[in-house]
Structures are given as structure tokens and as C-alpha cells.
Amino acid sequence: MKESIVPAAPMAHHTTPSGEIYPGALNLEPVRAAHQVLHETRDTITADGNTAAALATLQMWRCILFAGFPITPSTKYIETVAAHISQQVGGKKRVKLMEAEHAVADYLVGAAAACRDLIFPTATSSVGLDHMTETTRSLGASGLGNVLLIDVYRATANFPLCIEGDPSDTLAHRDDGFIQIACRGKQQIYDTVIQSPCLGMHHDVMTPVMPGYYGIKDSHRNARLVVEPDREIHAFQDRWIKPCPFPGLVNGDTAFGNCVTSRHFQGFKVSQKRRMDRVLDVLPQISADFERQFGRPGLAFFDAVGFGDDGAADFAVVSLGPDFGTFEAVREEYAKRTRLKVAGIAMRLLTPFPRDAVRKRLERTKAVLVVNQAHHQGRGHLTLDVADALADLTTPPRIVSVFAGIGGADVSEITWEQMLDHGRGALEGRALPPWAVFHEGRQL
């Protein structure tokens, strides 16, 4: 007797421009249920920057696979993750130590494409990020906002090698397509990592995020860190992370990275730019919600100090990273001594560069001192962005460009004072060189 074949009822699905999606094919509730809580309550601990970043990802129920490859100064991130996961009895989370950074990036593509509702984090640094480049460019364009690539800033591949904090690695990857957010201090690192997937996976954005912090100066600096209960982090992220409207490799009939002709390539890039631009609208919403829930400032375009209520300042510094703290430490005394209103902004959002917000903040400033900390062929990466932001003003402030702290070099109080003196020349109408480098209170 012939057996009759009864076809199974087709699974509910619908069509998207990216292919068919089968929403019922993946059930993430068991993943959520398998999460082992790290912190039941709000706790205060001592931690360095790498530990802060690792704890933030460990507390997310959506992070279950941690691919990584060690490189100084980011190694402690994956070590911390591995140490915690190895302690979990019956835990389902896994660490994948890969052969090299390129393999890590490829792993992130595969995993993030397989399940677009989980988050796939890693941390790298310097040449590690460079080794990933072929794939990070693809990731940046992929719409895989569930990739979280933490960059621990270190001078990027060059002679001589240097293992300390210098943002040349992240600045060399401005065009990879990642949202790039700079942090300073443990709390900002922890808070930024928690908020990053909310931004990257937002349906208007769909772009991977590269939060970063300075190697050694922040990755290895211990201070007090407030960690939130896992359930609070989950509640916050669940408000922002909705099921991905596009199919993944497991729940869809789709493919990534097809070859297209010039008739379409440009169109894809326009879409990529528009998604990136929407970060400027979405980020403040996430930030406000974070502050409401946790009582600390959320993501920001920049941190500002010293501007009056009218937004005016004689002289403003633009920089990023922990050395800005040393500027803050000398600012008031310097302002008193020189009888100038001295203000400053420490950039947080590097890509997309918040040009409108920067222009608005600096439009009532007479001179701007941009302190670059990465090697650049000209006046400095940050200077070019600031100059672009201020270009539309009728009477833009004069921009003075300096370099300090390249390769993680110490930027002492006296160095800040020398740079401020140099920049003050712009207020006095002095001719200044297109760029100058400062160290230990001297112009080199």
C-alpha cells in the first residue's frame, strides 16, 4: 500500500524586502529564562574599565555567545567574561576563543545574522580592530545592529608599537559604518554598553555600535562602579529592543552581502547614511529613558562644562577621553587667573558626528581649542569635524588645533595650561601654526 504524504501546514510567515520571515521559528523565552542573574540589587563595586564593560554584557539576557581574541589592553574584557561564565553552574552562555580577530568578526556576522534578536559582543583594540577591517565594513553596512564591538583605544598599527590609550584605532575606522561612542570613566563605560544595543537595534537605526574607551588610562583604572540589578537592565532594554522586522538566517529565507551593480550600490549607501543620521534623533530618547530609570546621565553627544546660561564662553576646549578630566581640574583656576570664561566639551558621539549640536554649543564662543590625541596627516580628525560643524556660522570662532597624549602619553596639568595659553593667542589675534604638539608643558 502506498503511503500518502501529507504536507505539514506551512509556518506563518510574511514577506519583507529582505526575504520571507517566519516569526514563530525562534522562541527566545528559554534564552531569557536561562539567564543567570549576576546582580540582584544595585551594588557598588571596585572595577576597572574592562571589568565594567564585561559586567554590562554579562548582565544582558540577550548576550549568550561571546566570541573573542585577546589583545592588550582589551584582554581583561574577555577574561572577565570567561571567568564569570565558567563559574555558572548549568549556565548556557558560551565563550568562543577564536583563531584571530578576523575570525571573531566573521563569527559576529554569522551569529548576528542567524538570530537578529540576540546581542553579540566582543572587545578588541588597535591592530585587532584593523585585522577585523574587511568584515567590520560589511558589518557596518549590514543592518546588524545587534553587533556590539567594544574598542579599547590603543595606538593603531604603526612603528613603533605602543600599548597605551590613543583613539587612532577608532578614528581610523570612522567609515566602517559603526555608531562610535567614546566613554570616559567606569560608570560611563558600563552605562554606555547597556544603552548601545538599544540604539543599534532600534528599527530606525539598524546599525552596529562601537563603544570605546582609552586603553590603560580607563581600561586599567580602578574606581567605584555602581552596577544595576539584571532585571532593571532587562526591563530597560526590553522597552527599546523590539523583534527585528527583518529575517535572520534561522527564521528567514534570506542572504547577506549579495553582489550588486552600480545601479544599486549607491542606493544602499544612501540608506546606510540615513540610518546613521537617525542616531541623532534616537540617542537622546534612549538617554532620557536611561536617566529616568537609573538616575544617571544617559548617552550624550558630548559632556559640556563651563558654559554660562547664555551659552557664551571666551574660549572653549574640544577633546575626548579621560584627559579631559585633567582639563576640568585646572579650568576654574585658569579662568580666574586669565579672567576669561573658559568652557569645554568632551565628545561622546564620534560617529555620526553631531555637527548641529556642536555648532549650537560653540556658536557663542570666541575661540575653540581642539585637542587631538591621535596621529593625523593634517590638523587632526577632531579638528576637521569641529571645523565642519562651525563652517556655517556667519562669524565662526577661530579654531586652534593642537595634539597631546598621542600614544597614551600623559597630559599633565602643566601641559593643559600650556595648550590653553597657546589657544588664548587666538583671542589676542596672534598668528598661530596650523597645528602644534604639546607634552610636559612644552610645545614640541
Binding site: 557598588t44 571596585t46 588610562k217 586599567h220 580602578n222 567605584r224 578630566g325 585633567t326 599633565s412 612644552r442
Partner: protein
């Protein structure tokens, strides 16, 4: 001995401004752990703000490293290195051969040593004015941890010098740092014993032995002539004084009273620093005559391992301080 100087009140500095501490030691010696534990201890006080971080390069175990610590009851903004510490800590006396560990410390500062020497001997040898605290950490480490590691003791001595916490809290904070590193329980107990023994072995005094020209802040003299493209001679290590990487308390010795050297040249080819001395020899081809241990021998042990006649040995060695001997 000059009249005692005044010592600064470190708790007052913490209350009114920022106490800055700098430590010098060698990679692998536990300086970073000691400073991390000090940070953890201070953060037990909810009103305290702390910053702690190390400075090291890619150099190997034995290279000089530094640790920095800022403590205050006010939020700390400065992120730059500490150049004028009110308290200087020396984990390994070998580290002081390469740097002035007391540089920039003002008169009345506090100096903490892991050493067998007395506070008075340290003050005279290093020309210090202020409070000098010593603890024989390596000996305590050897007794309780089977390893001449002085960071346990140095931590207790530094914590005692800063003040504000009892011995029990100091012990707990250190063990907590070790637990984060997943140190087994049995080792934790040995550390507890070492910590308690250290607390009993601290000596201190106030001295005025620094002259006006001692420990000045050096003005940075620029980068000098840097080679184009970072291209350097292959033997870079010979400008790095690699002898400073050697563990303190030991030295290499070559002895060949019976001219047993066979001229096999294994020591010459294996020495990474090229410091084996030899002369041509008609019978053996070459004859090893000695080794230049003064500047570049980092006690890697290659020559000891490969010499078929066992002519190289690692022997105990103790720096002799002339001042101490004369007194």
C-alpha cells in the same frame, strides 16, 4: 642624624584635597595587586573617591613598573600621572636603581618600603625627609607564601600609613581582591597569616635626611634624536639596562677554576644579551672566561641550563649599603 622633620597628615590631605600616591616596583612583583587592594580598601568608605591605575609597557617580567593612586573625599577630576606624590611606595629596591622613586615628594611626605632595613637606614640611604615606614615583606612572603613576594606586607604598611582603617578591614579588603582573582581558599588563608604578620612587623619614624638638591622634579628634556621610522639597532636591549629585569637578591656567577670549559659555545649562542666573554683557544676553539653581569644580565638562566660543565650558577646577592656598613 638630623632633627626629626614634620610629617604631613595624610588624612587631612584626603579631607581637604587629594592624596596622591605613587608606587615603584617590578613587573610580576605584585605592586598592581597591592594598589588595587588599597583602592578597594578606601572605597569601603562610601564618602571616599579613588582612582588607581598602573603604568607599564610591553616589557617582560622584571621590568620597572609604576602604580598610581588618588584618594579624596571630593570627586577626583584629574586623570594625569602623579608627579608630586605625598606618599611614595617602593616595592622592590631593585626598581630604585632605575628611577628616583622619591622624586617630587615634598618634605614631610611619607615613604613606604618593602625592606629588611630600618626606617632610619632607609632615610639615610635614600636621603628622605618625612615619615618612613618599613616592612620586611619578602621575608614574610617567604615564610607564609613560600615565595619572596612582598606585596602583601607592603599593602598593609601603606594602608597603615594612610590610616582610617583597622587591621581587620585591611585584611578583608586584600582577601577580597584575591577572591576576585579566584585564588584558592588555602592560599587565601596563607595570605591572611602573612597580612597579620605584616601588621606586627611595621616600623616607622620621622627623619630629615634630604638635602635641597635631593629628589627634584626633573624638567622634561625632550625626545632627543629619535631614529627615523622607529628603526633601531638589533641589540636594543643593550641600551635598556636589562640587568634591572633580574629578580632582586640574586646574581649570576661564572666559575671555572679548573679550566673545565670545553669550548662548546652553547652559552654564547644561547645568551640573549651576548654578554658571555671568551677568548680564542687553540685546543678548544674558544675558552669562556666570564660574563658581564653588571648591566645586561637579566638572569634568564639560559647559560645555566645549557653549560655541560655547570660553570654558571645563580647565587644569592644582597646590595650592601655603604651608609649602613659605616654606621
Amino acid at each position: 642624624m638630623k632633627a626629626p622633620a614634620q610629617a604631613m597628615d595624610l588624612q587631612d590631605i584626603i579631607r581637604t584635597s587629594v592624596l596622591e600616591v605613587r608606587g615603584d616596583g617590578k613587573a610580576g612583583g605584585g605592586l598592581v595587586l597591592a594598589f588595587q587592594s588599597l583602592a578597594s580598601l578606601m572605597l569601603r568608605d562610601d564618602d571616599m573617591h579613588v582612582q588607581e591605575w598602573p603604568f607599564f609597557s610591553s616589557a617582560r617580567r622584571g621590568a620597572n613598573i609604576r602604580s598610581f593612586l588618588r584618594i579624596s573625599r571630593r570627586p577626583i577630576q584629574a586623570a594625569c600621572e602623579v608627579t608630586r606624590p605625598r606618599m611614595a611606595v617602593l616595592m622592590d629596591e631593585g626598581a630604585a636603581r632605575s628611577v628616583d622613586f622619591a622624586q617630587g615628594v615634598p618634605p614631610g611626605g611619607t615613604f613606604v618600603f618593602n625592606t629588611r632595613h630600618t626606617p632610619e637606614e632607609c632615610a639615610r640611604h635614600y636621603h628622605l625627609s618625612g615619615r618612613v615606614v618599613t616592612v620586611p615583606g619578602d621575608d614574610i612572603g617567604t615564610k607564609h607564601l613560600k615565595h619572596a613576594i612582598g606585596n602583601v606586607s607592603l599593602y598593609i604598611a601603606a594602608a597603615r600609613a594612610i590610616g582610617g582603617f583597622g587591621v581587620e578591614q585591611m585584611v578583608d579588603a586584600f582577601l577580597e581582591t584575591l577572591k576576585k582573582r579566584r585564588i584558592p581558599a588555602a592560599i587565601l588563608e596563607r595570605n591572611r597569616a602573612a597580612l597579620l604578620a605584616s601588621a606586627e612587623s611595621i616600623r616607622e619614624g620621622i627623619f630629615d635626611e634630604a638635602g635641597p638638591d635631593d629628589h627634584p622634579l626633573q624638567e622634561w628634556s625632550g625626545y632627543g634624536d629619535l631614529p627615523v621610522g622607529a628603526q633601531t639597532p638589533l641589540r636594543l636591549s643593550q641600551s635598556n639596562r636589562t640587568a634591572d629585569y633580574a629578580p632582586s637578591g640574586f646574581r649570576l656567577r661564572f666559575e671555572d677554576p679548573a679550566t673545565a670549559c670545553t669550548g662548546c659555545a652553547h652559552c654564547i649562542t644561547n645568551c640573549p644579551e651576548g654578554i658571555i666573554r671568551f677568548v680564542p683557544d687553540t685546543e678548544r676553539g674558544l675558552l669562556v672566561t666570564g660574563v658581564d653581569i653588571g648591566t645586561f644580565c637579566k638572569l634568564c638562566g639560559e647559560c645555566i641550563a645549557v653549560c655541560p660543565e655547570h660553570l654558571f650558577k645563580e647565587v644569592p646577592f644582597e646590595d650592601r649599603w655603604e651608609e649602613v656598613l659605616s654606621s
